[in-house]
Symmetry: C2
Amino acid sequence: MDVTAKPPGGDCKAVGEILSRVGDKWSIQIVVALRSGPRRFNEIKRRVGGISQQMLTRTLKTLERDGMVERTVRPSTPPQVDYTLTPLGHSLSETVHQLAEWAAAHRGNIEDNRLRYDGRQV
Amino acid sequence: MDVTAKPPGGDCKAVGEILSRVGDKWSIQIVVALRSGPRRFNEIKRRVGGISQQMLTRTLKTLERDGMVERTVRPSTPPQVDYTLTPLGHSLSETVHQLAEWAAAHRGNIEDNRLRYDGRQV
């Protein structure tokens, strides 16, 4: 992809693949939910409206694999699992937070645009 | 989704849906390609490494429908079609550009993390 100049062939695909994951709507919302500190699974699920348990498990695993999220088991009774942003996750979080804010702020505008566009297609 | 406070139920889904589209790897790269001004279809295709003609057509149509991109037919001979970012598209473009730069800058780091993670799972 062309960020500043002609794309080096192999990089495009790798960067595109990363974008698929960091730009994924659930990843974005999970990263935003973790900005303010460690959270337990159910707290994240409550904050990210509409995500299923399975999708949350899967996305957290992907974020952990990419090094964006850390999973810590607290040696309490019973043991408790916290999820936290790593420094890499934090470096991403400001940008995805802005993206999320943009989407929330322009939702109405976008919906109006679609109605107008669809009206023209008839 | 929880951007600043408890999510209003209906909004989450709509915002999530917008995020799916603006966070889509092809949308991101097309918006970045159009930051510097109007471009023709084939110019965009060249700049966005790896995108197929069909995917580019489809994504441009989605961006147009959302009001992020404008399609103009120049009355030349033969007629020529330009794609441009609308003001809405421009308002998004700085954020997605940062996301794209982040992905390019951290690609190596992420790949190393995955190797480490996968190594631990064996």
